[in-house]
Subunit: 307 residues, 3 copies
């Protein structure tokens, strides 16, 4: 099977077959990163632009490593050192990059929809590396890859997603992906962080974390944006931690073989207690390892791996 | 023919034969960027340092892509993360870089003459990627390449350069290049932006844009430094736009087959109206594409392509 | 002989045999940087992460060039653009990097011991590129390589190290290395910069620079942190320069064939006078050239060159 699309903008648009193809391809690339020589010549002569309008370590590094393991050239452009400071529009920046004939552009932007605009205007493949509070598809794909490899399947599992559901692109992409793949998703967080219409996406919402965690196979903790404390979205970090952190006590409500996930970077002691982050249920570092494989798969599939 | 010089510091020093050699070489490299495998092994084992003391997206990215398409290694050094902050002199920084044995150094600096100082002190080839208000030779070369490819020739054409002539390294390099190649250059801008002695460079100066544009084959709009508004070099952006922008109305004065150029990044609605920037006369994105080819040509010619 | 250690954290831990092996290996790599094609395929398919929590030009660039000359892939992570800003702990950042399966991590951090923590937690090889005021082992190795190549030996020589001994990781690493290799080390600086217990490291301390310089074979000037002037560690830069700079007058006290070293970046006119920095005794740029070779040697020895 081939991936017949130019871009990866969100999980919402992907079919079950496409997600499965991507995860299968990622599984096969996982092995490359464990070799003595971690490099295959697949994308030799291709160039990948990492266009990051928001600071990032793990996502940018993961894409860069993925591209290099496939022998592609990578060029990093970050907003802080770019002509963004000179007031150029995103479209003009993008059209300029297009004119230099790269093969693929990875973009992270604070504005929801920025990658979609690029996809519609440029002939290059675009991968959304996170756009505002909208989607972060490669995160959801690596999460699904991790679940599948740990649980053997996604369908029929109960997944709890806990935190600031309203502002989380990780939550949104995972809701689309996990429900599509047949999981039952329960979201939980303070009322101010739970959008009213969220259940229209096919999930169950509850303001008590215990209810979400109960019998869960998967517990996905979201990073709390500590800077929101000042915006009165929640009373205090201490109180947030008291009611919505995952800890030794409430994890007992989940299934005994549950897995704990976090997209990182973690606020230890806020949304997750250190003994859970480092405990036997945690698959947080597997997520990172799988992230490289998922990104290799997407770079491969979008730049000719399907031809 | 060979390029028998170590450095590319300005267009002023180049002969017509040298410019022609560079443009011919660039034409032949243009094709590489359209291949499936956009890479030739020409500069394998060579290393190129991009030493940028001013922020830049397109120029740095263009040089980086050019070097990688030739299989050179690239190392980026930007002032913001360098020991410049520790007060080291430019010469000491440069001598240190020299001691690491790269093959070529690309430098952008806010001080006019900085690349020349490096060229006289270091054994490596130096390419000036913009020095103060002095020269930006690779920009002029890509501009001439674009003109030649669109018009078949440069000699005999009328080129209008509009904007802040006094502070523009793009204007200065193009004035040297275009007059040398036989074009008739007319420059225009507010009186405060038109240096008195500019006509000694062989151009015609006028304060009315219409006069410059009339019958022009080439209209080159310069980016207005919006921060100069505060320095009272011009009354207001609005007024600047009213008198010196290129728009649907005044472009009618130019030749019907005129081409519109801009070095980017554009201030849409200030020095150029959006319908002109995106219109049929615009070759602005061709300039970007040709920029990669020109830089490949220079890297090639300076690091052994002439041996 | 093989290097049977996973990491290079400090000179303190290295044996004379290990230092000799590293210097011998570096000598043999020196030649690569003088070739027409400055690249060997030794580390093809290996990836090196440069994790820099402090700004640096020469060290980061030197490691990056060293890795590329060995055909390794390099990924730069600097604190300013990383999720460090999001409050992630160093350990979590490091565990994340580990999960992406690079082969080697080069770290610079303002906290003494940071590289050691990483070394104990991660399976990857760690190279300390400077940790607080603790150690900077690659600097001391390149210094010893430079001395050995200029003097033919280290044992029996008198080395004077002048400056802020208390806060200098360069001093500390060199004290360990030079005493170990049999040199007699004399340190000198203002009393506030000379730790009381320094002589327990096997060196002689004196507050008069003349005493240190007298009959020295090697004079190693340390960079003065000009920002310490405000902290009242010394009265003024002018006074510091008057009493502790190396100049034409006091260098006459040293051996006629003495060599002058500086780790850079230099404060010309403060700790070293320009005529000495650029004079016949100076081996400052040799240090930089040797730095690339030493780092190539370490990357090689730690990633399989000893297997």
């Amino acid at each position: 099977m081939k991936l017949s699309r130019k871009d990866i903008l969100g999980i919402k648009e992907l079919s079950v077959e496409e997600i499965t193809l991507i995860l299968d391809t990622a599984d096969s690339f996982l092995e490359v990163s464990t070799r003595e020589i971690k490099k295959v010549p697949t994308l030799r002569g291709k160039s990948v632009i990492n266009l990051f309008y928001e600071a990032s370590t793990r996502t940018r590094t993961s894409f860069e490593i993925a591209a290099k393991r496939l022998s592609a050239d990578t060029i990093n452009i970050s907003a802080s050192t770019s002509s963004v400071v000179k007031g150029e529009t995103l479209i003009d920046t993008a059209k300029n990059i297009e004119a230099m004939n790269p093969d693929l552009i990875v973009i992270r932007h604070s504005a929801a929809g920025a990658p979609h605009m690029l996809a519609s205007l440029l002939r290059q493949s675009i991968i959304n590396a996170g756009d505002g509070a909208h989607e972060h598809p490669t995160q959801a794909l690596l999460d699904m890859m991790t679940i599948r490899s740990r649980k053997g399947r996604i369908a029929g599992l109960k997944a709890a997603i806990i935190g600031d559901i309203a502002h989380s692109r990780v939550a949104r992409s995972n809701i689309h992906g996990l429900t599509k793949m047949g999981a039952h998703v329960v979201v939980s967080g303070p009322a101010t962080m739970l959008p009213r219409e969220i259940e229209t996406l096919g999930v169950t919402a509850c303001t008590r974390i215990d209810e979400a965690i109960k019998d869960a196979d998967i517990i996905m903790m979201l990073r709390i944006q500590t800077e929101r404390e000042k915006q009165n979205v929640f009373p205090s970090l201490r109180e947030y931690a008291q009611y919505f952190s995952l800890n030794r006590k409430n994890i007992a409500l989940a299934r005994e073989d549950c897995i704990v996930m976090h997209p990182g970077p973690m606020n230890r002691g806020v949304e997750i207690s250190p003994e859970i982050a480092d405990g036997p249920h945690s698959v947080i570092l597997d997520q990172v390892t799988n992230g490289v494989a998922v990104r290799m798969a997407l770079l491969y599939l979008l730049t000719g791996g399907n031809s």
